[in-house]
């Protein structure tokens, strides 16, 4: 198994004081999420050796890349970090094949060619091998940049806002593509994004960063259902549930959730899907028998957490997959909601987004 990555750093960037500590296991994929200017990209650059923090330690297994206390600083070229830049940063004077081969210096010529073409094929851009970067679409550029970053077999993969340069229409499919491409990567991976939804689909653990500090970390669903601060609650937005679409009937898609329960959505879907619901769309009712209203989704759940978010309460639910509902403090009190209670989570099929994964 690949060695894990540990990074801890203190740095000052204009007005912002960054103080972060990360640990990514050898097979782990974490997302650093938070608003723009929170210090996420700087942390990524510290790991890669592109930024020197005032104090910090970066270690891959027993290799020390940075230790300001001991005066150790390994330059970026000695760190074996695959880095996907926000602008993709392809070399404009080299064609696609030479871009991907750039990091394979020292590899014998014949083997270099074979490895380069294998990467191009794996990322579906072999037919573009002789093209100049300027001729590529945003999505193609991203795939070439990822192929280039992975060709030298890096020990760590770092992605800085990997989807920011794409237009909104190609983004949805690009998330899915990127997710499946990252599935084959078996080294510690850090993804920086300001989009919670994107982070939840790409990473198995999220680290929420606000003004240079970690405010919460854990699996995406846990963060959405039990946000540590009002900020995280606002930021996390939708709960994401995973399951399999079972077919469309009367214009609604039925999704069988992993771990139990079914959800219906007004959006079409097939195969493996992610279902997302905003907490403010979800009502909580005590299980009192017969009901008659327009909500198609009524799922038994157990309350796991109660978190105040301003004048409202974020109610963490186990379906058994974790999800969040948001109710006013007044109704939480009127219903006597508390952790451990059995309730129904209720929401409309029209409030349910379905994204293929």
């Amino acid at each position: 198994m690949s060695p894990g990555l540990e990074a801890q750093a203190t740095a000052t960037l204009r007005q912002l004081r960054i103080d972060l500590r990360l640990a990514v296991p050898g097979h782990g994929r974490i997302a650093l999420v938070g608003p723009s200017g929170a210090g996420k990209s700087t942390m990524l650059r510290i790991v890669a050796g592109l930024h020197r923090p005032e104090r910090g330690v970066v270690r891959l297994g027993d290799q020390v890349w940075l230790d300001t206390g001991a005066g150790v600083f390994r330059p970026p070229e000695e760190r074996r970090c695959g880095f996907l830049f926000q602008s993709y940063a392809l070399f404009g004077h080299l064609d696609v094949r030479r871009n991907v081969a750039y990091g394979l210096r020292g590899v014998p010529r014949a083997e270099r060619r074979v490895r380069t073409d294998r990467m191009l094929e794996r990322f579906g851009v072999l037919h573009l091998a002789e093209a100049d970067p300027g001729e590529l679409s945003g999505g193609e550029r991203q795939r070439v940049a990822l192929a280039r970053a992975l060709a030298p077999k890096p020990a760590v993969l770092l992605l800085d806002e990997p989807l920011a340069a794409l237009d909104p229409t190609s983004r949805a499919s690009a998330i899915r593509e990127l997710g499946s491409m990252l599935g084959d990567v078996k080294v510690p991976t850090i993804i920086v994004t300001h989009d919670f939804h994107e982070a939840a689909l790409l990473a198995d653990r999220l680290v929420v960063v606000e003004r240079g500090r970690i405010v919460q970390q854990g699996p995406p669903s846990r963060i959405a259902s039990a946000p540590a601060t009002p900020f995280v609650g606002e930021f996390a937005g939708a709960s994401v549930l995973f399951g399999r679409a079972e077919g469309i009937e009367d214009g609604t898609t039925t999704v069988r959730l992993d771990g139990g329960g079914t959800v219906r959505s007004a959006e079409p879907g097939a195969g493996r899907v992610a279902v997302s619901v905003f907490p403010w769309e979800v009502a909580v009712e005590l299980d009192l028998g017969a009901h008659r209203d327009s909500a198609l989704n009524r799922i038994p759940a157990e309350i796991t957490t109660m978190t105040e978010v301003g004048s409202r309460v974020r109610v963490g639910l186990a379906l058994p997959q974790p999800m969040a509902a948001e109710v006013t403090s007044a109704s939480a009190q009127a219903l006597g909601l508390q952790a451990g209670m059995a309730v129904n989570a209720v929401w409309k099929a029209t409030a349910t987004r379905v994204t293929p994964v």
Partner: protein, 267 residues
Amino acid sequence: MTGRASAFAVVAFAALAVALCFLTFPVVAVFADTGVGNLLDALGEEDAREALWLSLRTSLAAIAIIVLVGTPAAWFLATRDFRGRAAVLTLIELPLVMPPAIAGIGLLAAFGPNGILGGALEDAGIRLVLETAGVIVALVFVAAPFFLRQAQATFSDLDPEVVEASRTLGAGEARTFIAVAVPAARGGLTAGLALAWGRALGEFGATLMFAGSFPGITQTAPLAIFAEFNEDFTAALALSAVLIAVSAALLLTVKLAAGRDAFGGRG
């Protein structure tokens, strides 16, 4: 609204027309006054050919020195932030605003027989004054800032992520400079080279003061034109036409070799 905008467009166009006429008229006049016969005669003159050949050799040597030293120097200036950086930039640009005659005096005071380094140079067996090597020194001095300024600006404009990408792909700073930065900046570097070369070909004052005007040794084409000017205006005119043609051909070749981006676009 449209009427006022187009009235302004007419004024702007007229301004451009005036500028273009004023700047090209003397050039056209040189050729018009010379005539094809005189032009060929000028090329037939031994002295004129010698002066042109000297101009080409010395300016080429100067450009080689400027590019070899100036490119890494400009890279350092563009990629590092250090105390006194602004002062360094200003010092480098100083020869741009210095009258060439003063540049000549300065070179004499520094490297002349009685200059500060004169003794040391003589001990090392290096003579510059009244020698071809002195011409090259004068050309480097006046032309280098044109290249340095342009190269520094071009390197500063490069996308820093492209440079960083090279580093994360295992290339050290030296390989990044050679394999990524220089090719990516080639448009701007060539434009700077063309400017510096043009300046070197036309250099007059500093060369005259520092190296003198000896046919075959230090008398470059501009100095030969001045020498002829006192005796034979037609010959001076013909040599001027040749120098203009050679300079224009050189600049055009350099720019074409670098591709379209050297014509003012970005590389």
